[in-house]
Subunit: 279 residues, 2 copies
């Protein structure tokens, strides 16, 4: 099977590695608008060749869209319309916008909407990792809108990667993604800005920073080109969660202002319940 | 050298392991108000014996206070007043309160105020780890208020643990700790409460949660018995940082409400500067 990967960055590159490792791709063709990334992807052996979009589609059996969600949404209909019996998947962090748009193509059924729940704060071909997806979840959305043979092949691929497949409609996916992923990025970005705004002795932070700080702030290294379109497409859900989060933080603030340490203890005890739902 | 460790939990227990590993303690005596923890500390071999406070002090050359900061503050003067030439250290996350209180003892100079910048979200003797402190920073506060021989021994111990020693006055320490540690815990607690409040399908979170969510929420497992006293003692600094953090989050909210994606991009680009000051 020949595979076209559109966008050879963190996710596209890691998919290339996994496809090769599992012997699921005879040839991998990269499509990449960033020249430096195209060269890196070739040099790193992530892709066998780099080609333009039309050529790559015509030469491939599987087409993986691994570009920012705004770009994927713009490309999906024209890509689908060019396909014959190829399978097209996306790997974006929002699913409702692309599914709604894909419905406009007469070839909608060749598209499988997926969201592998893995990522790091880094980007570009050099950020691609071996064994990236194993042990994590992948969400397949609106499965009934895709051809069974296409879904089956995609399931086989993600299972080979070691992923646990969840099925969801794309609207529900976006609500849950706001909670388990998008809000974490906003709190990290805002926490980094908090520290950068108020703490002028950067050397001291650098010296003192330990695991706790790093784990809550590391997502703040994430690329705006990827994240702004996600927040844009999932705007209403993210706003809902963000409003709730600000009101939860205000409870902590109020406890401290009023020196109500009994209620502060209760708030922390409640948050400890997260033990139940974290691995 | 005989060492008394008052509080045989996460930090006290990990200190015991490190002291033994570096052959810095001939005998380790645990003082522990929680009977189950006392038994666990003995069973795990963290301590050689468990004794009452007065006996432990009289038998020891080094006394390590590894209890919640509120308890440490209550105990410090009476412990110091009982000492002869022993060295007393604490390992708490706030430093101004204990230093101010310790100043009331005529034996103040035998006390060295320290904050090893390491911890996990777990607590109790079973949470103690081998090699916990290596590669992290430890802050020694108000060094000039301690006897040089006491400081020297404590420096030797932390260096043997593989820690980088920073020196700070206790007031400055508490400001920096609010930024690099305390606020991260508040954001994590609040994020857990946000998700628990709004997301009723806990199974779905469990299924979808990946690295990003886990890293921003894992601190929410932390023990309120440890953290409420920290927030209480560092209340003003924590409130300062928390107010700034809420106002930073409001900027993200406003961008989404007004669909101002240019400014959202700028906010994220600014937060990316954290790359400079994270390891």
């Amino acid at each position: 099977m020949n595979v076209a990967i559109i966008g050879t960055g963190l996710i596209g590159g890691s998919m290339a590695i996994a496809l090769r490792e599992k012997k699921l791709a005879a040839k991998i063709i990269g499509v990449e608008s960033n020249k430096q990334h195209a060269e890196e992807a070739l040099k790193l052996g992530l892709v066998d060749e780099v080609d333009n979009l039309d050529e790559a589609i015509s030469k491939s059996d599987l087409i993986i869209l691994a570009v920012p969600v705004s770009v994927a949404e713009k490309m999906i209909v024209s890509i689908l319309d060019q396909t014959d019996q190829q399978i097209v998947i996306d790997v974006g962090s929002t699913k409702n916008a692309i599914c709604t748009t894909a419905n406009k193509s007469k070839k909608r059924k060749r598209f499988v909407a997926t969201h592998p729940m893995w990522g790091t704060e880094f980007s570009g071909p050099k950020a691609a990792e071996t064994g990236a997806f194993a042990g994590n979840a992948v969400v397949i959305c609106d499965k009934e809108d895709s051809d069974p043979d296409a879904v089956e092949w995609v399931e086989k691929m993600y299972r080979a990667f070691g992923m646990n497949i969840l099925y969801m409609d794309s609207v529900a996916h976006d609500v849950h993604a706001a909670y388990v992923s998008h809000i974490s990025h906003i709190t990290s970005f805002a926490l980094a800005n908090t520290v950068l705004e108020k703490e002028k002795e950067e050397g001291t932070i650098f010296g003192m920073a330990s695991g706790g700080f790093e784990s809550t702030v590391r997502l703040a290294k994430s690329n705006p080109d990827m994240w702004v379109p996600i927040f844009q497409q999932n705007r209403e859900n993210v706003l809902d969660v963000l409003n709730e989060h600000i009101s939860q933080l205000r409870k902590f603030k109020s406890c401290l202002e009023k020196e109500n340490y009994q209620y502060l203890t209760e708030l922390i005890e409640n948050s400890n319940k997260i033990k139940r739902i974290l691995k």
